[in-house]
Amino acid sequence: MNCCKTVTDKAQQALAWVDERFPLSFLWKSHVSEYYAPKNFNFWYLFGSLALLVLVIQIVTGIFLVMNYKPDASLNLAGVPVAFASVESTIMRDVWGGKYIRYMHSTGASAFFIVVYLHMFRGMLYGSYRKPRELIWLFGMGIFLCLMGEAFFGYLLPWGQMSFWGAQVIVNLFSAVPVIGGQLSEFIRGDFVVSDATLNRFFAFHVIAIPLVLLGLVTSHLIALHEVGSNNPDGVEIKKHKDANGIPLDGIPFYPYHVIKDVFGVSIFLIVFAAVIFFAPEGGGYFLEFNNFFPADALKTPPHIAPVWYFTPYYSMLRATTSDFLPFLWAFIALISVLTWRGAASCRFVRGLCVLVPLAAYWGFFGLSAFGLTVPLTALLLPGVKFTVLGVDLARGLDAKFWGVVMMGGSVMLFALLPWLDRSPVKSIRYKGVLVKTALVIFVVAFLILGYFGTQPPSPVGNILSQICTILYLSFFGLMPWYSRLDKTKPVPERLTWK
């Protein structure tokens, strides 16, 4: 007994020694053991901690992969690129346990996107982006963008056919930027085609640059969250009702309650994760694409280049933006502008924008022609006169390809506007009305359809459906200020509901 007491005393002394020099106990209390989170967290609230778990899995497995991976596009003795061989030969076969580490990393990439998409969907269900949590949402958007960067740069590293051609296609998109496009895509690649130079810089971005930014953003995301406190499925603020000690009545300490609950969630997640790693590491060709088992070959273009599944909704929107789709897109922009104009009687600046934006978009889409269907007006009035500045024909507007790229980037960024687009008086879907619920269902269906067609080769039916779904996707965000305000909401309880 005495001996135990001495040990705990010593431990206490050691902790006191540290606490005088570093706020260890303070940090533990304020972020874990005395961080009060709502007690009615449901299934959807697991995905935050799961995302953190997957991040750790990716970093740890990534470190071990880097020990054996070689970012080298030259051919080895057997005529296989060194980078490809370092994955398929060294890591997958020669390194003890290497293939499990590799499968964890490749499955982890897909798992990361599944978890993060569900985490974002939770935010949309319960209005977690609403005041005062706008910054949490924006840091989250930053994390989402970093993840996309990680996935894109990392996908080149195995140096398979899909790695090579996927990077080639995506980097080529930058050549659609007016004036500087050509030089820009060359600058990104460091060569005229994707090559060893590209592989080396993508490796640097994948293992150093983006992970550093990612960790900073994750920290900021958590600090911001712990500053304002977690939202909950009812969307009520638990800090409004506190007991005599200043503890929220509906809150329970994160440790042990939520930690223990998350451990259960983690174990279920790991069962699914392990099932994929051990029984279907290729994920049916979605997690590891079959064509990527061919080494990169600059002379052989695969018949069908598709990005990995998590990029396909945005990729679909890129493909949907053809020149015959631009009139519909313009009509959509005009509609939003008219609606905004009507609602902004008091603000001249906003009204000015409502005129300027559709006009600028019209010129950008069609130049001086009638919706791109006729020749430019200038060709009729001043035949023979060129209006070309720095390679851009001012009479014709910009290429649809450029607008496709804008669409792809913009559709991702739209999520960042949610805190300001949502005008509903309530946060949670539980108290929202039929309008918002319908819009959310349409959005999810459109997103899934876009994702499906992104994996398929282009087809006329797929193209039209993608265009319809692109408009639906944009409408979910673009019309939100109106339908969320018109929606008939239910009264929100004072305290959270809990059975």
Partner: protein, 254 residues
């Protein structure tokens, strides 16, 4: 039109041009490959692979001594399967020079280490593709090698196993392409000169070769599966206990 559409159309156009030979691009049905991972089958496949494939193709991800996993001893491997290597830990790399190969076949024979994984598509699994491919060569005097293939039209590879299978010739039928134009469609292959093996024996041999190629794509796939059950069992125990723990802790939350 986006750049990607352009890229894709160019790619499709190129494919169409490639397929302009006698055989029109038509729906290819792959036969199900009877893949077996028992030692006898894999050893038979290894023998075929070393004798018929390894003269031109490398399998650089595979080391000779990995074959101990299919029940061979190092001595057996060294005596019977190693013709160009000295040490059993060496990779299966072919002696053929790539530049020569390119001159002879138009393309350097690809490394086959993971070919069974690469050849999977919506048409069927990688082994199915290989199994059908290796049984679908036919005489075609318009090709430099004298051989063509149904699954891989205008392939650069000659029929390496012809002495076993014999010689097949293609039978074509005139088919209306829907616009009134008559096109030649492959109706089937016919064995015109028998080889050393009967059709059934040849199919069995190819099946063993395909099994070996599949095994080679990731040696120890079965260990991975077996280990998977252990991991799932351990995780299930964790899930049960963490659930019970959660229930115990949450008893006082009202």
């Amino acid at each position: 039109m986006s750049l990607l559409n352009k890229t894709l159309s160019v790619a499709l156009l190129m494919l169409a041009l490639v397929g302009q030979g006698v055989v029109q691009a038509q729906e290819i049905k792959l036969d199900k490959a009877p893949v077996k991972f028992d030692n006898a089958t894999l050893q038979q496949g290894a023998k075929l692979f070393v004798n018929y494939c390894l003269n031109c193709h490398s399998a650089s991800a595979l080391r000779y001594n990995t074959l101990t996993q299919i029940g061979l001893t190092e001595q057996q491997i060294m005596d019977n399967l190693m013709f160009t290597a000295d040490k059993s830990g060496e990779q299966m790399i072919v002696a053929l020079r790539r530049d020569d190969a390119r001159k002879w076949f138009g393309v350097a024979p690809p490394d086959l280490s993971v070919v069974a994984r690469a050849r999977a598509s919506e048409l069927g699994s990688g082994p199915d593709w290989l199994y059908t491919y290796l049984r679908s060569f036919y005489r075609d005097d318009s090709r430099p090698t004298g051989w063509n293939n149904v699954v891989f039209p205008n392939v650069g590879m000659p029929h390496a196993l012809w002495s076993l299978q014999g010689v097949q010739e293609a039978r074509f039928a005139e088919v209306d392409d829907g616009t009134g134009k008559k096109v030649q469609h492959l109706a089937g292959l016919e064995l015109t000169q028998p080889g050393q093996l009967s059709k059934q024996e040849y199919d069995e041999q190819v099946a063993s070769l395909v099994s070996f190629l599949t095994w080679m794509g990731e040696p120890g796939q079965e260990t991975r599966h077996a280990l998977g059950w252990v991991v799932l069992a351990v995780l299930s125990v964790l899930a049960i206990f963490s659930y019970l723990l959660k229930r115990a802790f949450w008893k006082d939350v009202h």
